[in-house]
Symmetry: C2
Subunit: 321 residues, 2 copies
Amino acid sequence: MNYRIDNLQYCKWSRKIFEINREANLDAVHVTIVYHEDYDELLIEIKKWEKLFNENSDLIFLGKNFKDIEKAQKENKTAIFFGFQNCSPIEDNIHLVEKVHNLGCRFMQLTYNNQSLLATGCYEKIDSGVTNFGKEAIREMNRVGIVVDMSHSAEKSTFDAIELSEKPIAITHANPNFWHAAKRNKSTDLLKILGESKGMLGLSLYPHHLKENSKCTLESFCEMAARTAEIMSVENIGIGSDLCLDQPDAVVDWMRNGTWSKIKNYGEGTKKKPGFPKQPGWFQDARGFKNLETGLKKVGFSANETNGILGNNWFNFYKNI
Amino acid sequence: MNYRIDNLQYCKWSRKIFEINREANLDAVHVTIVYHEDYDELLIEIKKWEKLFNENSDLIFLGKNFKDIEKAQKENKTAIFFGFQNCSPIEDNIHLVEKVHNLGCRFMQLTYNNQSLLATGCYEKIDSGVTNFGKEAIREMNRVGIVVDMSHSAEKSTFDAIELSEKPIAITHANPNFWHAAKRNKSTDLLKILGESKGMLGLSLYPHHLKENSKCTLESFCEMAARTAEIMSVENIGIGSDLCLDQPDAVVDWMRNGTWSKIKNYGEGTKKKPGFPKQPGWFQDARGFKNLETGLKKVGFSANETNGILGNNWFNFYKNI
């Protein structure tokens, strides 16, 4: 059985997008439901999702574990797995880890770009690694079954998380920095250790993580995937597209600035180009998985390996959460 | 005019304690009103204080600036200045800095013992200094008039705060570590730079910060003060007793553990001695200021210098907030 999984999307959700994901045969999508929201604000977001599930029950349902991916495939639906891009919903309270798991959370980043109470983000100058509270939180996430996601974290913090976590961690959406030296992309040393620990890398299709941004070619992307598979086992590579379809630019402003700054930060953008970047033509939305399939095979991946990258590897990872 | 100021108390407040502070002639006390509380929880604590002010209006009132210290002396009352020992009331929101100032906050620690969103606490292994949000927060605290308090912070973070803050910072309650090498006490290098920047050190009477703990002698304490005045100008030394009168041990447990840990942390205590330590006989409560006066003069401080340490230095610092 082959699965198609996009392990990171953050779209302005609508029936249209769920239909596109079905057209792309996605059996599962890990969706970001919050960035900097606290616990009470998380509850509001979850209510919105309850409405989406009710109104689109022919297309989507809340996924809780790998069996829901099997179920989704059988029923021609997409299982939606909840994740957070910052740890703000657990506030400073270890007991909220279990509560957010009960609400459906299956992935949580220890940091967004800045320092959090748990670890250091990739936009800070100095990385002190996983904090005292971070150690407690990782232990608790391991216990209840929330994946430690270090996509936006700084390097030492990520090494620490790999070492501290009893279960493999994930970098759900980032690319190797040998290909494109963005702050958010990851070093070869880190990817090696990630792979050895059975952690997953979800390759990102977000233009700021791509060589030549929106002009990145399918060939270049797939060659990067091939080189990444020389660093870490191909079985630890998947897709985390970071698709932000239909989001207004106010949303990327919120992602970058939350409420922490009076001065506007442009993150991966610039003052001249503050908004969401344009997707490359070959990956306008999840239907681009078809292009990825062609491209990955073209650079030498076997059918088996290609199916692994496009979903089976994430499926196996979910099995072990 | 001489003032008596204790620039840190965290007692289980009651009329009895306000009376003791009056008996000690304290014109002002900086009181800790929250540790790990968030903004909403802060509002609850402020309501409790409103009740205390109403019920004890013959003894205390809310202080907002140095003129309230003058007023307190004239009216034989004690001006109460609010402070936070952690930055949790501003959550992740820069706009809350002005709001907490409007509520009366005049001192805020950037960290308690652990990493915060602003800086690193003295109980973390690695100190990454003031964070991105921390830089914004310091700028905003300077603007609205909240003193940056680094009593519980790690060293690099404190150096950073001194450098970043346009106004002098304070270490409201700690001692030099040349005298007693506790994690909470401060290095000679740091005290030098603090003094040069016109920042204040409030000497602590909390037994865990004292040489030989509860058995510390008045002589030893005052000799330490004399040696500290060789490191930093005597004008930058005051008292921040850290008195926790009548607090049940559950409170020290909250201070140390907040809600971040499932494993009990004993902080400066131990498993065998988890509770509040006993005050030394010569400083059972603020009436010990009288003993300090005698002791400080005995080690060679002039009357002027002694009055400075016991309150005038803090008064001058408040003048410049």
